[in-house]
């Protein structure tokens, strides 16, 4: 029954990386819900977070926990700056224009990383326990295992924050009706900033974990493509959708990678995307938009 064991292991690894997809998907959904901006640069923001961490942990040799905190803070600031400089002026423009602005941002971030750290592959310092984990007989790489739990913890925190904290409630209010939120005294522009800061900070965490598992390079933004597929399959504005779709895509990619070969991973993801969109154009859990004349 070794085949079943192999399948089990692959599935576990898939769930592990699916957790990261869910986390990055969450970073995407926060921005989309609050500001209706489709952030195609999500993969690059993730990469930037990972590189900032790399700079502190490896470049300056500061302790890991401090580097993590600093990377999150710096990424948050970066998110705020991006929102203020590039997204705020685009308020009210067509969604496609804003979408293209984020494409441009992604390109700028990739260029910056290549300029500062060159395009070579980098390795993050080891900061997670390296003992392999066994679940019954199945083997899981420890990085994937801990990465998954980091993702789960963060997702839980974010969901709780959305539910109970004032800022989170403001964010949900803005998401459901901007005008009404404004008239209830919610500072909508500040919510926009908050959403970008939170999203960039979450992306940084996801980036650090992804970087720890797969190494750093300026092409990490490709991860963002899978994340996009995840959020679209889940429905752009649904947190639950992003989480479930993250796990789904993670597992499917792991299966495709194990049984068909690495080059099939993205292919399978995109085929799933096309199939889902043909069946349910608004994703599995997305809100169906009603158009009136």
């Amino acid at each position: 029954m070794t085949d079943w064991l192999f399948l089990f292991e692959v599935t576990l690894a898939g769930i592990g990386s699916g957790g990261l997809y869910a986390l990055a998907g969450l970073a995407f959904v926060i921005v989309y819900k609050a500001t209706r901006v489709v952030n195609l640069a999500i993969g690059e923001m993730l990469m930037m977070g990972a590189y900032i961490f790399f700079a502190f942990a490896s470049g300056l040799q500061w302790p890991i926990w401090l580097a993590v905190v600093l990377a999150i803070v710096c990424s948050g600031i970066m998110g705020g700056v991006i929102e203020r400089l590039a997204i705020r002026p685009m308020l009210g423009e067509s969604p496609i224009s804003v979408f293209m602005v984020t494409v441009g941002l992604g390109s700028i971030l990739v260029g910056l990383v290549e300029l500062i750290w060159t395009a070579d592959q980098r390795r993050l310092p080891e900061f997670m326990p390296t003992e392999p984990i066994f679940l019954g007989e199945a083997f899981i790489s420890s990085k994937v295992f801990y990465g998954f739990w980091v993702a789960v913890a963060l997702v839980a925190i974010v969901v709780a924050v959305f539910r109970y904290w004032r800022g989170g409630v403001a964010l949900r209010a803005t998401a459901s009706d901007q005008g009404a939120a404004y008239s209830m005294g919610i500072n909508v522009p500040r919510v926009f900033s908050l959403a970008w800061v939170a999203s960039a900070a979450l992306a940084a965490v996801a980036g650090i974990v992804v970087g720890a598992i797969g190494g750093l390079s300026s092409s990490m933004g490709v991860f963002g493509l899978s994340v996009l597929v995840v959020v679209i399959v889940g429905g752009l504005d649904s947190v639950v959708g992003a989480l479930l779709a993250g796990l789904l895509i993670g597992v499917l990619e792991a299966w495709a990678g194990a049984y068909l070969g690495g080059e099939y991973k993205l292919l399978v993801t995109f085929i799933v995307l096309v199939v889902v969109l043909m069946l349910r154009p608004y994703g599995l859990f997305g809100t169906r938009e009603i158009e009136r004349l």
Binding site: M90, G104, L236
Partner: protein
């Protein structure tokens, strides 16, 4: 100052180049294009051909995105379809190159129609992602089909015209530039017809267009088909120009390049696509020159590619924020200045 331009009949009003000045300048431009290959060196000829190919493809994308309002990030993949078609036809069947180019366009068009099918159900960003998906699938097929030489790619023999092999930049210029001019004129004329007007109506508000009796699916598909036809022919020219086609020749970044070109040039403007394509193609070259001149110690080439990436992104962002109508709008302002001179605009 622009005087005596009152239109006396509908023909004059509808003319593509409606003033004598404009016609005179077009004549000058045409003559310049004729003389250019005799005056320029190989490097500038190479750039001119590249600009022409990019302009053809950008014009195609502009039909789809600028005029019909359907964002596509698959233009490079359709170019790839065209390039591979040309490569296969040349290598295996040796058919004449004009036929190859047309078949390349048709094959890409069929691909575009398939990708366009979801366009009625999904819109905006969803559609953009579907086109990304399609281009990944197309890439995968190129890379894994024995027919297309797998990851090694294919070489393309030079096109032969009246027994002369067009194998230098100077010779191939006479193929690429006329074809591009034909395609651009075709696109310019398209928007004076019923079909072109329907595209514009769909862009402005698709549901209203449907209420006005424009069958959405048919016209959206038509737009996809036309745009990919342009991409396919441009891809065929590309294949003849570089004479080797590999699965990596048409990456996603090239699709983004074309979208950036029409944004920088001006969405929904024929002139815009050309200006944008020329501008975006030339900027990296100018950058390389500038960086070469800068007094930086050590290996300056290391900075070229990242700076190019940054400038590429900055151009998109800056144009969208400060000049959303693109270079075409700047051009219009300049023209308006001369029309109204000596009065203030």
């Amino acid at each position: 100052m622009r005087i005596a331009t009152a239109k006396q009949n509908y023909m004059a009003d509808e003319a593509l180049f409606d003033t004598a000045t404009q016609r005179a300048w077009m004549l000058v431009f045409g003559l310049a294009l004729l003389l250019y290959p005799f005056l320029a060196n190989d490097y500038w000829l190479y750039l001119a051909c590249l600009v022409a190919i990019h302009a053809a493809s950008a014009t195609g994308l502009n039909i789809l995105t600028g005029y019909t309002g359907l964002v596509s990030l698959g233009q490079a993949a359709f170019m790839g379809l065209g390039a591979y078609t040309v490569a296969v036809l040349e290598q295996r069947y040796g058919t004449p190159f004009l036929l190859n180019l047309i078949v390349a366009g048709v094959v890409a068009m069929l691909g575009g129609l398939v990708v366009g099918i979801p366009s009625l159900r999904v819109k905006g960003l969803y559609l953009a992602i579907v086109t990304i998906a399609a281009s990944f699938i197309v890439h995968f097929i190129f890379g894994n089909l024995a027919f297309t030489g797998g990851s090694g790619g294919m070489t393309v023999p030079p096109p032969v015209l009246f027994g002369v092999a067009l194998d230098t930049s100077f010779k191939i210029y006479w193929l690429i530039v006329p074809v591009t001019i034909l395609m651009v004129l075709g696109a310019a004329n398209l928007f004076r017809t019923r079909v072109g007007r329907a595209f514009i109506a769909i862009r402005d508000r698709d549901i209203s267009a449907e209420v006005l009796g424009i069958p959405l699916l048919r016209y959206k598909l038509l737009s996809f088909g036309l745009s990919s036809f342009y991409a396919g022919v441009a891809g065929g020219l590309w294949a003849y120009f570089f004479r080797v086609v590999t699965p990596e020749s048409f990456p996603l970044i090239l699709s983004i390049f074309f979208l950036a070109a029409i944004i920088v040039g001006g969405m929904g403007s024929i002139l815009g696509a050309i200006l944008g394509a020329a501008f975006m193609t030339m900027v990296p070259e100018v950058l390389r020159l500038v960086i070469g001149l800068l007094p930086i110690e050590g290996d300056t080439l290391r900075y070229v590619s990242p700076v190019r990436t940054i400038v590429f992104g900055l151009l998109i962002v800056v144009f969208l924020i400060f000049e959303p109508q693109g270079l075409a709008e700047i051009w219009r302002r300049v023209r308006r200045f001369f029309h109204l001179w000596p009065f203030r605009t």
